[in-house]
């Protein structure tokens, strides 16, 4: 078991979430014009954050299915290879940058930034329309938190079906996964209430 953030003190880990998010958005826009240079820059940022290029390739490998999903339909519909490569590199780069942001930003810092932004002058009118910054930031934290739980349910469902001699398929997985997720959401809501969270 390794720490989620560990003692990493790279410039990217130390950067404030707000400016980092804006820089990320600007970078994603920029890679549209120069996909290969953008990918090289992303690799350099990973190297800066994690003292080496291994994490970059690990994340790239994690995206293999998504990359296939983006690439294959384009090839199937006869798009020329250069266009396919450009589009795939752009989207992959955007996903790698978004992952880099989440890997180098503590959720608590991020939700603090979301709350500060929503309390800032330009966005304050939204609060007058009924938007609660604390609720938005909490919803964000809970979404991040739900991902490992849903992955756990997915694995449990797969194992339970395999144990009964069934080959797990997306159709067979849907209902048990839905039931487990709904049960979790009920219990989680009760735990939130017990911890005094008012939303």
């Amino acid at each position: 078991m390794t720490p989620l953030f560990g003692t990493n003190t790279s410039p990217l880990h130390r950067a404030a979430p707000g400016p980092k998010l804006l820089a990320l958005i600007a970078l994603i826009a920029a890679v549209t014009w120069a996909p290969l240079a953008g990918l090289a820059l992303t690799a350099a940022l990973y190297a800066l954050a994690f003292k080496g290029i291994a994490r970059f390739f690990q994340q790239l490998w994690n995206l293999k299915l998504l990359i296939a999903l983006i690439t294959i339909p384009q090839l199937f519909f006869g798009t020329d290879l250069i266009t396919v490569l450009n589009a795939t590199i752009r989207l992959t780069d955007a996903m790698l940058l978004a992952t880099l942001f989440s890997l180098t930003t503590k959720t608590r810092d991020l939700i603090d930034s979301i709350e500060s932004a929503l309390h800032s002058k330009p966005l304050r009118p939204l609060t007058r329309l009924g938007l609660k910054p604390e609720t938005v930031s909490l919803a964000f934290a809970m979404t991040m938190n739900a991902i490992p739980m849903i992955m756990k349910f997915l694995n449990q469902t797969k194992e339970a079906q395999a144990a009964r001699g069934l080959k797990p398929t997306p159709i067979r997985m849907t209902i048990p996964l839905l039931v487990a997720s709904l049960k979790y959401s009920d219990e989680f809501a009760e735990a939130l209430t017990a911890r005094g969270v008012e939303v």
Binding site: M1, L4, K106, N145, M149, A191
Partner: protein
């Protein structure tokens, strides 16, 4: 702190979950036992307003949780049997610190308090780990830390060792029944754990059927369900 139920009944969709329970409890460690569906968890949930009585009145330290649930929750921490559902934030330190959100303390002060409580339960080294990657025992200790940091007067633990192995059950038992200054209401099927309480309350068929010295209540429970 005095826990007082006066003719409390709870019904869900026409099913009686608790039937006309009247009791006064002020012992430090209160154990609650009974078969599944006997009303134990409903009793526990009444104490911090997670469940409201259909009739009757409940007072916990002078506060009626059905009337002022916010005040009741501020003085009562609740620990569930499934530690997974209690985790709100991704890392251990963030989750404990989350409990002091809105307390007015500075981030550095909150972090220091969170680290201190993690150290007290020997899980400070896990502070920056993903909370969901912990073992069940560690998650339950995390849940206890997240509750204790708010310094509640009362802790209600609903089957906190139900999903744990022997070693982790004993670890949680030591944490809860050790030297905590808080009053505790411990709902459990673990009779060894229940025996460590100052008083035991037993539920059966939505009614409170026994109360008293743990050894006597456990004996009658075992005899009745032999």
């Amino acid at each position: 702190m005095l826990i007082e139920l006066d003719a409390v009944s709870v019904a869900f969709d026409g099913t009686t979950a608790l039937d006309n329970v009247s009791v006064k409890l002020e012992q430090q460690r209160i154990g609650v036992i009974g078969l599944n569906g006997s009303g134990k968890s409903t009793f526990a949930r009444l104490l911090n307003g997670l469940v409201k009585p259909t009739s009757g009145r409940i007072l916990v330290g002078g506060i009626d949780p059905a009337v002022d649930a916010k005040a009741a929750r501020a003085q009562t921490g609740f620990i569930f049997s499934n530690p997974d559902v209690q985790i709100i934030m991704p890392t251990v330190l963030e989750d404990v610190a989350f409990s002091l959100r809105g307390s007015g303390l500075k981030k550095a002060e909150i972090d220091a308090k969170a680290r201190a409580i993690l150290k007290r339960f020997d899980i400070e080294h896990l502070a920056d780990h993903a909370a969901h990657s912990l073992s069940s025992g560690q998650k339950q200790l995390l849940a206890i830390c997240a509750i204790l940091i708010t310094e509640p007067k009362l802790i209600v633990a609903d089957e906190p060792t139900a999903l744990l192995d022997l070693v982790n059950s004993r670890r949680i038992a030591r944490a809860l029944l050790g030297d905590l200054p808080q009053q505790i209401v411990l709902v459990t099927h673990d009779l060894e754990l229940a025996a460590g309480c100052d008083i035991l309350v037993r539920f059966a068929g939505a009614k409170m059927v026994d109360i008293g010295e743990p050894s006597a209540v456990i004996s009658s429970y075992l005899a009745e369900n032999a």
